[in-house]
């Protein structure tokens, strides 16, 4: 059993962002969530991760009900996420950005030094894997956009999530880095991490994902492997506005 939502609804004033989103993602796979602008993809992420409260509906993850739980509870349940407009801690160093994701086991553990050898080693390990180890001591705000996206991902990986939600990983990223992100997602997936990716770059979505869910007006209208989605008439209709 994996991440799934039943009848998720959310309205902002009179605007319905989510209109009964019942979705079930594939465990251990790379899932994609696509749809035209304003179809509710980011709102869906925000409801799943507890950043905003859904008006109705349920969120369950591995048979655990996460509906209405605080974001940190959901993060600790094993769901990590990145943000559409890449969020990092700009005045902290890159290394501290990753270390900030360490979760203390109790009161005394929380009072131990933040730069404990074991955690620092792990954090540096992620920075190395993402190719930004040389920037460990630099203030995160001075990193380039692409580097910041990698840094955000390093922080999320430091929480050791089973499922990672990526909100537009390709947004504003150059082709070389895009390749690297694609490879990275495949590798991490091979290591057993499930992905749910919101993305507008169709080449990336079609080449990367095993399972695609298409949103339109706050609810899923189609799902299936890339080969099926590519030719689905409802999907074409939603994108072309027919």
């Amino acid at each position: 059993m994996t991440l799934q939502t039943v009848d998720l609804r959310k309205a902002f004033g009179g605007v319905t962002a989510l209109d009964g989103a019942t979705v079930r993602f594939r465990d251990g796979k790379i899932n994609a969530l696509i749809g035209p602008n304003g179809s509710g993809k980011t709102t869906y992420f925000n409801c799943v991760t507890g950043m905003i409260r859904a008006d109705r509906g349920r969120v369950t993850y591995r048979e655990r009900d996460l509906t209405g739980r605080a974001p940190h509870v959901i993060a600790r349940a094993g769901i990590g996420r990145t943000f559409q407009l890449c969020r990092i801690f700009p005045r902290m160093t890159a290394l501290d950005n990753v270390l900030a994701a360490v979760r203390p086991a109790g009161v005394f553990d929380a009072l131990r030094g933040a730069r404990h050898r074991v955690e620092t080693g792990r954090a540096r390990g992620w920075l190395t894997r993402l190719g930004i180890e040389h920037l460990a001591g630099a203030p995160a705000g001075t990193l380039s956009w692409g580097q910041q996206k990698l840094l955000e991902l390093a922080g999320v990986l430091m929480t050791d999530p089973d499922t990672i939600l990526l909100d537009e990983p390709a947004g504003g990223v150059n082709p070389a880095l895009l390749d690297r992100i694609g490879t990275l997602v495949r590798e991490l997936n091979a290591e057993g991490r499930t992905f749910v990716i919101v993305e507008h770059n169709m080449d990336l979505v079609m080449s990367l994902s095993d399972h695609i869910v298409v949103f339109d007006r706050g609810r899923p209208i189609a799902e299936g492997p890339p080969s099926v989605i590519r030719t689905d008439e409802r999907v074409l209709g939603a994108y072309l506005g027919v």
Binding site: A70, H72, R81, D96, A100, A114, G141, T159
Partner: protein
């Protein structure tokens, strides 16, 4: 790891502080100067206590004056009404204020930014009304006289309290330093940078904020209580004044909120200036104007405070290359580096 030079600077600062604290009572020419020194030292403890919340989480509380007032009245009332030993009363008042800080924090820390500032002001105003109108208990605007803990001459009384305040300052600085280097501290700083992001990374932000608020309240209450025992006379208008909180914010910002010694340096500058303005302008509102001008100047020219400004000046004079140490940077440094980056491109 902190670089050798930053360790040396830290060691030198501690040594300088210890020397200053130990020698001032001997150097003060008369009891008046010593008592003015105690007022400034009391501000230093309050500003350092304030900085547990302000510096780590970025929540600017104007309500800390009220927590100090509660500590003062708590101590005073436990001595006068319950007949407790002065320092037992002080400890008990600290515990009571800490307990009270839990519901206060739970209410206030739900809102961020400007809303939090407003809520913290409301706390002061509400408590002022309560302590003024509940005259049967607090003495109302007639004030509350707190008996002195020791039977000493006035100069000796000042001397003893100078060292008591010094001990409290050392304790507050030690606690701040411990949190600063801990995982808890890193989580708090993450809240300051981006609270939602910190939460999304698994930090229980509300619990973190609440714990540090209670720690801050405990130290603030101790400072308020010690002040009550030293000064011996409490008046709600001064104990529950928005001005106190504003002074603390001014001191911490002026010195630098992300530096261990920032609020202390700020308290030295502002505290001395306040005492001076009071002597100079007497009972006119001019000392408020002067303080306001000081705040405006700081915000305009040293948004990160005196210490970081001095630090970046020093670094500019030093050869490049040793700046890669892992530490917090200030907004000004960040801007500067970005500019340098752009020039390089």
């Amino acid at each position: 790891m902190p670089s050798v030079s930053s360790r040396l600077t830290g060691g030198a600062a501690v040594l300088l502080l210890a020397t200053g604290l130990l020698s001032f009572p001997g150097l003060a020419p008369n009891p008046y100067v010593l008592s003015a020194g105690i007022v400034v030292l009391h501000y230093a403890v309050l500003a350092t206590s304030w900085n547990f919340v302000g510096g780590f989480t970025g929540y600017l509380s104007l309500g800390h004056g009220a927590l100090a007032g509660l500590g003062g009245y708590g101590t005073g009332l436990l001595v006068t009404k319950a007949g407790l030993n002065s320092f037992v009363a002080l400890a008990l008042a600290m515990l009571l204020v800490s307990a009270l800080a839990v519901p206060i924090g739970m209410a206030a820390l739900r809102v961020r930014g400007a809303s939090f500032v407003i809520v913290s002001i409301a706390l002061v105003l509400i408590l002022l009304l309560v302590f003024q109108s509940w005259a049967s208990l607090t003495g109302g605007s007639r004030g509350l006289v707190v008996p002195r803990p020791f039977d000493l001459s006035r100069p000796e009384h000042h001397r003893v309290f100078w060292f008591l305040f010094s001990g409290l300052l050392a304790l507050a600085l030690l606690a701040w330093w411990l949190i600063d280097r801990s995982r808890f501290g890193l989580g708090l700083k993450a809240i300051r940078e981006d609270e939602d992001k910190a939460e999304a990374l698994g930090t229980p932000t509300f619990a973190y904020k609440l714990v540090v608020f209670v720690v801050s309240a405990a130290f603030t209450a101790l400072a308020g209580g010690l002040y009550a025992l030293w000064f011996g006379d409490l008046d709600p208008v001064f104990q529950f004044s928005v001005l106190t909180g504003s002074y603390l914010v001014l001191m911490a910002l002026l010195g630098g909120v992300r530096n261990l010694f920032g609020p202390l340096v700020g308290a030295l500058v502002v505290g001395v200036a306040l005492e001076y303005f009071k002597v100079e302008f007497g009972n006119t509102p001019l000392h408020l104007v002067a303080t306001g001008v000081l705040l405006a100047l700081v915000v305009l020219f040293m948004p990160d405070g005196v210490l970081p400004a001095a630090g970046s000046l020093l670094r500019r004079l030093r050869p490049a290359g040793e700046q890669a140490s892992i530490r917090d940077v200030t907004a000004a440094e960040l801007r500067e580096r970005r500019r340098a980056e752009e020039v390089r491109r």
